[in-house]
């Protein structure tokens, strides 16, 4: 294994000698171009393009959660709350749901006299970012004194409370006969995004949707990389590694942790607002704990703390969930004479993946270097140490 690794790094060094210094930038540029050109290959209506759009939206969420879980080391099991806030932003500010109001900013001419609040998709995304950042700080506040799995439980509780609020929001009145949410009926007929010069998006042509979420992905990736390499990113790592040492070195604990929650939540909200608009409805039933775990699984499978891991994990599980399981492998059990569809046990499959990755390769598929050392270096050393311990003969 070490020989293989040495060989690989030798090859990498050789390749870097040959290539000019700007080759990473060139590679990134080529990848972006391929990304932009993708819908011309797949066609404007294919199930694959649909799967790709949703997978990218999930990858954006995974990137957001990676800030909280990976970089800052705060295990957040209530991430679905930000999905909910984001999706409800799309519902509240882009449909006729608040029928007592007439607000129109930058929407298609056909909507300019419709009832309700109708904002341009860019404004909706910004609103989702702001609302989710505030919600992230509120959820983060009670966890500041806690650590480890207690944080996980408090965030989980918050996520569940938000889910219950969404389902029961029909009975919460906000005045004028309007309610907070439409519960399990769902807020439906959310506006299609509209841009001047482009016109309204439509579900008959998925390409504009793809380019919109691709642009969001690029922005989120850029922010992620810049934040990781900033003073704030280093503060997160320091807090994650040793809180007491970091605080005594002068890192502001409250501000740093809350920034992690706010930034992670903002990305989740962006993606949630996009998914809300893309589905053209927001249904309270979709905000379940299982979704939080789904996003955690993306981060874990990709490699906790690694931006490229979160991106890869998000795309991978997004494709598995939205393309591979429902479209390709769904009748697999029936071929073995079993009477169920694979999509009904998709969460079991993700659970299995979580266990498998954690036991076999805890650093994930595309690990960050520092995390690899943490997850495997110590484990290997300890295994060697504990291996000397006799298993039998020391009964109670």
């Amino acid at each position: 294994m070490t020989e293989l690794r040495a060989q690989l790094s030798e090859w990498q060094a050789a390749a870097e000698r040959v290539l000019p210094r700007w080759w990473t930038k060139a590679l990134a540029g080529v990848l972006v171009l391929i990304g932009v050109a993708l819908p011309f290959i797949t066609g404007s209506q294919s199930g694959f393009l649909n799967g790709t759009i949703v997978a990218i939206a999930y990858a954006v969420m995974a990137l957001g959660l990676n800030v909280v879980v990976g970089m800052a080391g705060l295990l957040d099991l209530g991430y679905v709350a930000f999905y909910a806030f984001g999706a409800y932003c799309a519902g509240w500010f882009g449909s006729g749901f608040f029928f007592g109001l007439h607000v129109h900013v930058g929407v298609a001419p056909t909507l300019s006299h419709a009832i309700g609040i109708h904002l341009n998709i860019v404004l909706i995304l910004l609103a989702a970012v702001v609302i989710c950042a505030v919600a992230g700080v509120i959820i983060g506040l009670p966890t500041l004194r806690l650590r480890g799995d207690y944080i996980a439980i408090v965030t989980l509780a918050f996520g569940e409370i938000i889910g219950v609020l969404a389902v029961n929001g029909q009975s919460i009145h906000v005045g004028g006969g309007m309610t907070l949410t439409a519960g399990n009926l769902g807020i439906s007929a959310i506006d299609q995004p509209w841009f001047p010069g482009v016109g309204s998006f439509s579900l008959l042509d998925l390409r504009p949707w793809y380019w919109l979420i691709f642009a969001i992905l690029l922005i989120v990736l850029f922010v992620n990389v810049r934040v990781r390499d900033s003073r704030l990113g280093r503060a997160w790592v320091a807090l994650r590694e040793d809180e007491v040492a970091a605080v005594s070195m002068g890192i502001p604990l409250v501000k740093t942790k809350l920034m992690a929650y706010a930034i992670g939540a903002a990305f989740g909200g962006m993606s949630g607002a996009f998914i809300g608009a893309y589905n053209t409805q927001v249904n309270a039933g979709q905000f379940q704990f299982g979704f939080s775990v789904f996003i955690v699984a993306m981060v874990v499978v990709g490699g906790i703390g690694s931006i490229w891991g979160a991106l890869a994990g998000g795309l991978l599980l997004g494709y598995i969930n939205n393309y591979l399981i429902p479209d390709v492998l769904n009748d697999l059990p029936s071929r073995f004479g079993l009477h169920f569809q694979l999509s009904s046990v998709s969460f079991g499959i993700f659970g299995f993946l979580l266990v498998l990755v954690m036991v076999v390769r805890p650093q994930g598929l595309f690990p960050e270097r520092r995390r690899t050392l943490e997850m495997t270096g110590e484990v290997a050393a300890l295994d060697a140490e504990l291996g000397a311990e006799p298993e039998a003969g020391n009964a109670i």
Binding site: V69, G73, L75, L77, P142, T143, R145, L146, R147, G148, D149, Y150, A152, I153, V154, L156, A157, F158, E160, I161, V164, L165, V167, N168, D242, E243, V244, F289, G290, V293, V296, A297, V300, F340, S344, V345, F347, G348, F350, G351, F352, L353, L354, V355, M358, V359, P362, E374, M375, E378, V379, L382, D383, E385, L386, E389, E391, N394, A395, I396
Partner: protein
């Protein structure tokens, strides 16, 4: 019999003794800060207790002052001004709470010994319910079986489901937690969530995706006797009859037997325990076995008492029981029982008076309140995680 299973470091070798002690308030220099610190201490001591008393006291006063509708006779509502409705809430809550207490003990034992929230525990409880219900049909229990036959059959089903869930819990520990004992703590937590989802989907394939009614073997809603206007149902008696002996038996086991002593020693300091010749691995397995067996017993009681089972019941039960364990002080068996009973009463009050659709939110709000006000719980000591 004071045996708080105080947890120390699970990850042997990865020693990271970062205990944050609250800095002593600087009295003379900053009187405002000192006052704030004193206020915070006061809130920490009494806040949770006040929050817990708020619901029953409010509804008790409400019942006494404005009364409640007890029945409708000839089209006219009969208004009572007494506490028997509150008493009914308490009786129901204490029997629901007995089930949560059994599950909560499993959380608290495991957390005490390896500092892991065993997320799969609620789903182990669900598998216990399913096993028990499966055993009824194997044993041929139905509504026409005689009372003696039902009781005998239930005892057999109880033993089998306890053995099943105990074994299952040990298996989960071997496969998913043991390889990660020295990894960072987030790793076993994530595998625990993974196991929880796997078990849920096993349940989904086993009995389908919707709530399933099962035979009401005992007539769990039949009133046995009435105490001060509060009807005591058969289901309540069953919950207490199973829970009380099990809790006392477990207490005895932990405080009096050699394996119990080994459990306490491992909880306090696994490394020192190993140096003293205790087999830490088998002690941890034993802990999982006991926790799983209690969850299996709770599963049977739940199936008989609620007369319906569902693959998703374990999720809610698990979170309620975890809240109970934290409320009582995690790592503390008596605390888990107390917490379970309190959660049961909160649930029953909320179900009846606020609306069952809000119950989850209210219990979770209490969970957050505990974390903010008193992370060590009612009977617990400071833990490294929560302190």
């Amino acid at each position: 019999m004071r045996h708080p299973l105080r947890a120390r470091l699970a990850n042997v070798g990865h020693v990271n003794t970062t205990t944050i002690t609250p800095s002593p308030p600087v009295m003379a220099a900053r009187p405002v800060a000192a006052a704030l610190a004193a206020a915070r201490q006061y809130v920490g001591r009494w806040g949770l207790i006040v929050a817990l008393l708020a619901l029953p006291v409010y509804y008790g006063i409400n019942d006494l002052v404005s009364g409640y509708q007890a029945a409708v006779v000839a089209g006219h509502p009969v208004i009572h001004h007494d506490l028997s409705k509150l008493g009914f809430n308490f009786a129901e809550g204490l029997s629901d709470g007995a089930i949560w207490a059994l599950i909560a003990i499993g959380y608290t034992l495991v957390y005490g010994i390896i500092e892991l929230i065993n997320f799969a525990h609620g789903d182990v409880f669900m598998i216990g319910s399913f096993t028990a219900v499966g055993m009824w049909s194997v044993l041929g229990l139905s509504l026409t079986t005689s009372m003696l036959g039902v009781i005998g059959g239930l005892i057999v089903a109880l033993i089998i489901s306890m053995l099943t869930t105990g074994t299952l819990n040990v298996l989960i520990e071997k496969v998913a937690y043991k390889p990660l004992r020295s990894a960072p703590k987030v790793a076993p937590l994530i595998t625990a969530i993974g196991c929880s989802f796997i078990l849920q989907n096993v349940g989904l394939l086993w009995r389908g995706g919707s709530q399933q009614s099962v035979n009401d073997l005992l007539g769990s809603q039949d009133v046995v006797f009435t105490v001060a206007g509060v009807p005591i149902l058969r289901g309540y008696l069953l919950a207490w009859a199973v829970t009380i002996p099990l809790v006392f038996g477990l207490s005895w086991f932990i405080s009096r037997t050699r394996p119990g002593k080994a459990m306490r020693a491992t909880a306090q300091d696994p490394e020192a325990a190993r140096l003293m010749g205790i087999n830490v691995n088998s002690t941890i397995s034993l802990t999982f076995l006991l926790g799983g067996m209690l969850a299996g017993a709770a599963g049977l009681v739940y199936a008989v008492y609620e007369t319906q089972v569902w693959y998703f019941q374990g999720f809610r039960a698990g979170l309620f029981a975890f809240t109970a364990a934290v409320m009582g002080g995690i790592g503390n068996v008596r605390g888990a029982v107390l917490g379970g009973l309190i959660i049961g009463v909160i649930q029953s009050l909320s179900d009846e008076r606020i609306g069952p659709q809000w119950t989850e939110a209210i219990v979770f709000a209490y969970l957050i309140a505990i974390m903010v006000l008193r992370p060590k719980g009612l009977l617990g000591e400071e833990t490294r995680e929560a302190g």
